[in-house]
């Protein structure tokens, strides 16, 4: 060990150890730890309940977080750029309500959905404007929009759910259908996750998101138009809320103005458990989805074990605290 240290410091750039480093890097990664915890939980639960490792249950667990997972993608990217969005639940409900209302007014459901998603994008752009041009903090702007969007939902529906019984089956398919044994919702979710995970890891466009979140001034001093980046990530997050809202509409066959209350906490918790930092600059989509999966898995396990619903919130909150604390500890040790 002692001889190894002399090599580690002060080595010349030409000699780079490669092989063992990769394995070590993998061990350090947040994702590896989360997968280990999830696998451990799965093993324990498969002993505790024979029902656990059935396809029906696995599908239920994934379905439980798949649509919300789309919002997690948007939130993670926004967190990496240094922002945050508390309005995701309200904006998702807004997409449902606008889509449902337009459909009832006689629009084709696909066109109604496209307009609904467009409205959510506009809401995101509205927030982006207040953050980048006026200079308000994301937290405040999205808090205000959270309340306003919820208000619009309630105003537009009189507070009652809109029944959309006449939605055509080909539209309902995106929320309720299956291709083989796999629900379309899960497929959509996987496609979105994979696309954004690759974009985020591999493209110059999204690399700028990391630079901006890591040090906005240094990014500006690197010629990056940081305000545009922040505007774009803010807008993207709301757009993905719109997509999620439309899928929920197809899945439930109704538009619920009170849907998604408290969603922001779940979504932020998932992203943070998955390694995103509220200070910006770090995070991965894959990690955030593992975070969402872990939260969902814990909920379903507790349900299978007949634990009171009230305990679930306490346990989920504790997981969030534990994840962040462990991460802080590891970072300090490294540091």
């Amino acid at each position: 060990m002692q001889s190894g240290t002399d090599q580690a410091i002060g080595i010349d750039g030409t000699r780079q150890p490669k092989g063992p480093g990769v394995a070590k890097g993998l061990l350090k990664m947040r994702e590896t730890g989360l997968i280990a915890i999830i696998l451990l939980l799965v093993v324990v639960m498969s002993f505790a309940s024979p029902y656990f490792l059935t396809w029906v249950n696995i599908r239920t667990v994934i379905m439980a977080f798949a649509v919300e997972g789309i919002v997690v993608v948007g939130m993670t990217i926004l967190l990496i750029s240094g922002g945050i969005d508390l309005s995701v639940g309200s904006v998702t409900a807004l997409a449902m309500v606008i889509g449902g209302w337009l459909f009832l007014a006689g629009f084709d459901p696909w066109i109604a959905s496209a307009i609904a998603i467009g409205c959510c994008t506009a809401v995101g752009a509205f927030m982006g404007f207040f953050v980048t041009k006026i200079g308000l903090h994301h937290f405040i702007v999205s808090l205000a929009v959270m309340v306003i969007a919820r208000g619009i939902c309630l105003l537009g529906t009189g507070g009652r759910p809109l029944g959309l019984y006449t939605l055509p089956p080909e539209f309902k398919f995106i929320g309720q259908g299956s291709l083989g044994p796999v629900p379309v919702v899960i497929l959509t979710f996987i496609v979105i996750v994979v696309i954004f995970d690759i974009l985020l890891r591999r493209t110059t466009m999204f690399r700028k998101v990391f630079y901006t979140g890591s040090n906005e001034r240094a990014a500006a001093y690197s010629g990056i138009r940081t305000k545009r980046v922040i505007f774009a990530t803010t807008t993207l997050c709301s757009t993905l809320c719109g997509v999620a809202g439309v899928i929920y509409m197809a899945r439930f066959g109704s538009a619920q103005p009170t849907f998604g209350i408290g969603m922001e906490l779940n979504v932020i918790a998932a992203a943070v458990i998955g390694g995103a930092s509220l200070n910006g600059g770090t995070g991965t989509i894959f990690g955030a989805i593992l975070g969402a999966a872990l939260l969902s898995l814990v909920s379903s396990s507790l349900a299978l074990l007949d634990v009171s619903v009230y305990w679930q919130d306490i346990i989920r909150g504790s997981i969030l605290l534990a994840a962040v604390t462990i991460d802080l500890f590891l970072n300090k040790r490294r540091g």
């Binding site: 240290t5 580690a8 040090n215 010629g223 770090t282």
Partner: protein, 503 residues
């Protein structure tokens, strides 16, 4: 011995696989000013953090006034009587100067309400010895050098027996530094032992009693300053003799002009600035802090400020709208504030180096080619003699000198036509400094335009072929060849004729 206040023996400290300290000793006597020298990464800051209770040593003993102690936290260090002024400024920008200075006392006070009048009076008293700073001002509104003085004032209010100053003059002007040395001497006469960390030989030899040199985490020697020469310290620091801190100058600059700036003005910061830079020439920009040196460079690169006037680069007029376009045109700016706006500390070395122009490491469709990115970073790292473990390590894991090399590599990654370097060797040790100077000269020789902004006059004189002096936002004058003396530059910078300005 009764006059020994603090004695450290055999201190070991490692971070993971890196051994920062390998059994170092340090003895502090009452009333001495003890310089601690060593290249970046030699272990000076680590040892200071051990003394201040921020880090716990792996092995070794600390004794305080003859009694063995363990220092578990900065608060415990303060209670013993140890004050530390960090190299980095760590003020609370949103509260007043007075509250910053007396934070520790407020922290320990058991009173419910704060007596602001008394607070300000005390702060004013301490500050009065240092500089003309209003204690009611918001700390964040102060210039960097004034913030540094507030940091020092903060330590002075603690009733300490050992005061540690970690490169306190890095952000100060010569005059402010002289005032600080006067204060240090008075404190030492009162029996306080001062540990003074610095790279600057002149400061050590003019002001310190003893000097201890570290290298690679080891104690190399402790010497009586009066008995040695600066070369002895430099030799101990680098383990070899550095004959030339500055490379040879260009024989004759080329006839073609790289940069031509005509009548450049900005609303408030500078007016009617005209200058040019010839091929193979290194141009220096001197001036007092606040004269507008950095602002001119940032204005030309369109980083901040709305400018009027003309900028010609390699014979073509530039019409730039933002810094992104300046980078595309081949004109880049190295920030003086490495940590605040130069680097992404938590991101990897490779990611930092490629930040200026991602299209260079991308394949079609904007996909990042990780292999290309690493190859580019490795090549530039080699060219600059960068010392690192892995390219995927965060920049924060590097020493100051190597961080600066990453920042320079970032500039070079776009094959620039012209680089403005703002304080390129601030907080960089002697060895790395000489290397950076050589790199800049080589770049100029190869045809890249080099403009260096620096507060260190010896650096400008040693490195540059010509020096432009800025005074209050205007060109105060220009010196070249043998006219480049500290006196000449200072008189142009301040508008006052100096006689024997050094004292």
């Amino acid at each position: 011995m009764t006059d020994v206040v603090l004695k450290l023996s055999g201190i070991h400290k490692s971070f993971g696989s890196v051994q920062a300290l390998r059994g170092v000793d340090l003895t502090m006597r009452r009333g001495e000013i003890h310089a601690l020298a060593g290249e970046n990464g030699a272990g000076k800051s680590t040892l200071m953090n051990v003394i201040d209770g921020i880090l716990a040593p792996d092995r070794g003993t600390i004794s305080w006034e003859g009694r063995e102690v363990t220092i578990g936290s900065p608060t415990e260090a303060q209670k013993l009587g140890i004050g530390l002024v960090h190299q980095e400024i760590a003020l609370c920008p949103d509260v007043s100067v007075a509250e910053n200075i007396l934070m520790a006392q407020m922290n320990m006070s058991r009173r419910l309400f704060v007596d602001y009048a008394a607070l300000e009076a005390r702060a004013a008293e301490v500050l009065g010895q240092l500089a003309d700073i209003d204690p009611r001002q918001r700390a964040g509104d102060l210039s960097i050098s004034n913030q540094q003085l507030v940091e020092i004032a903060k330590a002075l209010t603690l009733d300490c027996k050992v005061l540690i100053l970690d490169e306190p003059t890095a952000a100060l002007t010569d005059k402010e530094a002289q005032i600080l040395f006067g204060i240090m001497r008075r404190l030492a006469d009162r029996g306080i032992a001062i540990i003074y960390i610095s790279h600057r030989m002149a400061e050590i030899f003019d002001n310190c009693d003893r000097v201890t040199v570290f290298r690679d985490g080891r104690h190399i020697s402790t010497m009586q300053v009066s008995e040695i020469e600066p070369q002895d310290v430099v030799k101990a620091m680098v383990g070899r003799v550095i004959d030339d801190l500055y490379p040879d100058k260009a024989d004759a600059p080329g006839s073609d002009v790289v940069l031509d700036v005509r009548n450049l003005s900005e609303a408030t910061r500078f007016r009617d600035v005209s200058f040019h830079l010839k091929r193979r020439e290194v141009l220096g920009i001197a001036g007092l802090i606040g004269a507008g040196r950095s602002e001119i460079a940032k204005g030309i690169c369109r980083i901040e400020g709305d400018i009027t006037g003309e900028v010609w680069l390699n014979g073509k007029p530039l019409k730039l709208r933002d810094y992104g376009e300046s980078i595309d045109a081949g004109m880049v700016y190295l920030s003086e504030d490495r940590k605040g706006s130069g680097l992404f500390l938590d991101m990897s070395i490779a990611e930092n180096i490629s930040a200026l122009d991602l299209s260079r490491i991308a394949r079609r469709g904007g996909r990042i080619d990780a292999r290309k990115e690493h190859a580019r970073a490795r090549e530039l790292g080699q060219r600059l003699g960068l010392k690192y473990g892995r390219l995927s390590d965060p920049v924060s894991s590097l020493s100051g000198g190597n961080q600066q090399k990453v920042a320079i590599a970032k500039m070079l990654s776009v094959d620039p036509a012209l680089i403005f370097l703002d304080e390129p060797t601030r907080g960089v040790d002697v060895g790395a400094k000489a290397e950076i100077h050589r790199i800049l000269r080589d770049l100029a020789q190869s045809g890249v335009g080099i403009v260096v902004i620096s507060s260190e006059l010896p650096e400008l004189i040693g490195l540059c072929d010509r020096i432009l002096v800025i005074r209050e936002g205007r060109v105060g004058g220009e010196v070249t060849g043998n006219e480049m003396t500290e006196e000449a530059i200072m008189s142009l910078a301040s508008g006052v004729a100096f006689e024997g300005a050094a004292q």
